[in-house]
């Protein structure tokens, strides 16, 4: 168990969709260890998704949030927070809700502290005017790994939870969001969006729309969308899918030629009060906004498979060409 110190900056940036359109975002970037006189070089470099926060059960995590301001909206002095969505027994001081604690103005820092005790798939996001700041992109994945992996008897093995039955060989984050281009454009142009009109045109996995989802991590063409969603495995391997919905719509995920074994929900093994095993098989994963699902996908046979949203209109780029909430699974 270690002490992890990280520092994230909150700022803005631009992302692109496969149809060539560019969209203004708010977001986070990692500035851990960056000298103080250089942190402002990270202004305008927010990524979608925000950096992966990955810790072990029992770690002590000190996360400093620095508000770097919005270079493309210098007039806008929004404060920011980090809300660890689903952290059990939190205290409001570190919960990131501005109405019930502190938020971080431009040029200021704030330290959040977490000692995670429950492994699983979580989310973090800014909770300042959350409808705007979440849609604008201030969202990131958060994984708490189980202490079981540190047991010498299981060295080099990976588990979703503290249960040997949740072993896997590979993992993939599938972080689902939507993008309505109108608020992004309005915010970039110093105007307001009427949020009850929300109706997205882009459906994203890990901040990208297919076919960009299958491009590699850190693709130079997608400088502020560093997360690939391509899934790869060898025949027979188990892939842990960490499915997150931080959009505003329900999503239903299917995959060609295969099904899922759902072992976790909302960073908990699915268990009754006395440990009853409620894990289940399904070919369709329903995930509502603010939920996470841990599912094992077993690479059964060599080949190429496609993971997609069963609401097929979400498998488009701006409602027209094939794209959107699709990625590929290669079994080799």
């Amino acid at each position: 168990m270690g002490v992890i110190k990280k520092r994230f900056g909150a700022t803005d940036g631009w992302i692109q969709m496969p149809d060539g359109s560019n969209h203004y975002i708010f977001g986070f970037c990692e500035i851990t260890g960056v000298p103080e006189n250089q942190i402002f070089e990270f202004r305008g470099k927010a990524t979608l998704l925000a950096p992966l926060l990955e810790v072990y059960e029992g770690d002590e995590v000190v996360l400093t949030l620095t508000n770097l301001g919005f270079p493309d909206r210098p007039d806008l002095d929004d404060t920011h927070t980090i809300h660890w969505h689903g952290f059990p027994d939190q205290i409001p001081f570190w919960d990131g809700v501005p109405e019930a604690s502190i938020s971080v103005p431009v040029g200021r820092d704030f330290e959040y502290f977490y000692k995670p005790l429950d492994p699983g798939t979580y989310i973090y996001h800014c909770h300042f005017e959350p409808v705007e700041h979440i849609q604008m992109g201030m969202v990131g994945p958060l994984i708490v790994r189980p202490s079981l992996e540190k047991n010498p008897a299981y060295s080099n093995k990976k588990f979703a939870f503290n249960n040997v039955a949740t072993e896997y060989q590979r993992e993939a984050i599938l972080f689902l969001t939507e993008l309505d281009a109108r608020p992004h454009s309005l915010v970039a142009n110093v105007q307001e969006f009427e949020w009850t009109e929300y109706k997205p045109q882009y459906w994203l996995i890990n901040g990208r729309s297919y076919p960009d989802t299958v491009k590699a991590h850190d693709d130079p063409q997608l400088p502020l969308q560093p997360f690939s969603a391509k899934i790869q495995a060898n025949e027979g391997e188990k892939v842990l899918l960490r499915i997150v919905n931080l959009g505003f719509e329900n999503h239903n995920i299917q995959i060609t030629g295969n099904h899922f074994y759902v072992i976790g929900q909302d960073a908990k093994e699915i268990r009754g009060r006395n440990g009853e095993d409620l894990s289940y098989q399904s070919d369709t994963i329903f995930v509502a906004p603010g939920q996470t699902v841990d599912a094992i996908l077993t690479a059964s046979r060599k080949g190429k498979y496609v993971l997609y949203n069963r609401s097929h209109y979400k498998n488009t780029v701006a409602g027209v060409s094939t794209g959107g909430m699709i990625t590929e699974f290669d079994v080799i």
Binding site: V62, T79, H83, H85, G86, P88, D89, Q90, I91, P92, F93, D95, V97, P98, E99, A100, S101, I102, S103, V104, P105, R108, F110, E111, Y112, F113, F128, E129, P130, V131, E132, I134, Q135, E192, F193, E194, W195, T196, E197, Y198, L246, F248, E249, N250, Q265, D266, A267, K268, I270, R271, G272, R273, N274, E276, L278, F286, A288, P289, G290, Q291
Partner: protein, 381 residues
């Protein structure tokens, strides 16, 4: 046996952004105002429940009790109603000016909905719904309380009922003015808990200036207490409700315990997808991390003048990281904190629902308040 009078009337809802919205609601009698949601029906398993429905609207109105068994009118099982062969009501209705009496025996403990079964695309959306809480046969408010009876592992210390819904003001106006409205374009602009939009959800019950919206939605408890939160979705949309502070354990759906004999199939969630017409009973418990000024937090408390506090003009924060303690906050900010209690937001994660016609904060949001000490009469239904 309990007997309840429900009068169907019109009224006006108030929203925090200053709107006044015509609605149809149930009232407790001829002299009482229509309210949203309708009066709570609270009874005990095994009791006979009689509901006298009096209709003052210009069209028939009826009551459906999904999940109740053996509902009768005048001793006969309820049946759909037709006019010239066309379906009008899913169940027996009261004609204009008429009173009709429904009777059923509360066979199961749990959380249930009652709602209009006549022109439901109009009447339920206009506000004709309410909640039913049936306590188990062995319930005693002064003893150890359970949601589903002893031996069901459903003990709780306090309970709260949150009924969620939506409002499309254009639709309400069209009904008020008798104008046509294309219901396929139904588009909510407000989202409610117990008939109120945030921040009014956090106000107490029976506020003078909210005569048609008597129920507050603030959840109050002490650390370690088991809080039974009963959700009902009376609306037509999905509402993914997320409490900060901790997961909940979902123990029952639609008033049926998630347990088969010894096999417990309750489950934990940090977001429950609350779907139309359905009810969800859950236990929330916050134990905290035992920080106090004697066991201080391991991070520095910044100079509060440098930080963002109360951006909306008010804050629920005490100024201290510790439960039960208050500290100075900048004087320009109105603090609503009473005794150093903690506040955790409970809200829809379909975030446009956190607005009043697009303006945050609003809509489907309330707070869970954790007090170091709280009167035991709080959180009793």
């Amino acid at each position: 046996m309990i007997s309840i009078d429900l009068w169907v009337k019109e009224g006006y809802l108030s929203t925090p952004d200053g709107n006044s919205i015509y609605f149809w609601g149930f009232s407790e009698g001829e002299a009482a105002p229509a309210q949203l949601p309708g009066p709570r029906i609270i009874c005990k398993q095994g009791e006979e429940v009689t509901v006298n429905l009096t209709n003052t609207l210009p069209e028939p109105v009826s009551l459906c009790f999904p999940g109740q068994t053996g509902v009768t009118v005048n001793g006969q099982p309820v049946q759909p109603q037709y006019v010239n062969g066309k379906l009008v009501s899913f169940t027996n209705h009261a004609l204009i000016g008429e009173t009709i009496t429904y009777t059923f025996t509360a066979e199961y403990a749990g959380t249930f909905l009652y709602e209009s079964g006549t022109n439901p695309h109009k009447q339920v959306l206009m506000g004709l719904y309410g909640g039913i809480v049936i306590h188990p046969a062995d319930y005693d408010a002064n003893m150890d309380k359970t949601a589903y009876g002893s031996d069901t592992d459903t003990a709780y210390d306090r309970e709260y009922l949150l009924i969620v819904g939506e409002i499309d003001p254009d639709f309400h106006n069209a009904v008020k003015q008798g104008k046509p409205y294309s219901i396929k374009n139904y588009k909510p602009r407000y989202w409610t808990i117990n008939g109120r939009c945030a921040p009014d959800t956090m106000l107490k019950n029976d506020i003078d200036y909210l005569p048609h919206q008597p129920y507050g939605s603030m959840i109050m408890c002490q650390p370690d207490e088991k809080v039974l939160i009963r959700y009902i979705n009376a609306g037509v949309g999905s509402h993914p409700l997320h409490p900060h502070g901790n997961h909940t354990r979902v123990i029952a759906l639609d008033g049926r315990l998630l347990r088969n004999g010894e096999f417990d199939r309750s489950y934990q969630r940090f977001t429950v997808s609350v779907n139309p017409g359905q009810t969800y009973d859950q236990i929330f418990q916050w134990k905290g991390l035992n920080y106090s000024s004697q066991n201080p937090i391991p991070t520095t408390i910044p100079n509060l003048r440098n930080m963002g506090i109360g951006d909306a003009g008010w804050t629920l924060w005490s100024g201290s990281p510790y439960l039960g303690e208050k500290a100075d906050i900048p004087q320009s900010i109105q603090s609503l904190n009473e005794f150093g209690e903690y506040y955790f937001m409970l809200h829809s994660h379909s975030e446009p629902q956190l607005t009043n016609w697009g303006e945050f904060p609003g809509g489907l949001m309330t707070m869970i308040a954790i007090y170091s000490s709280l009167n035991e009469n709080v959180g009793v239904l």
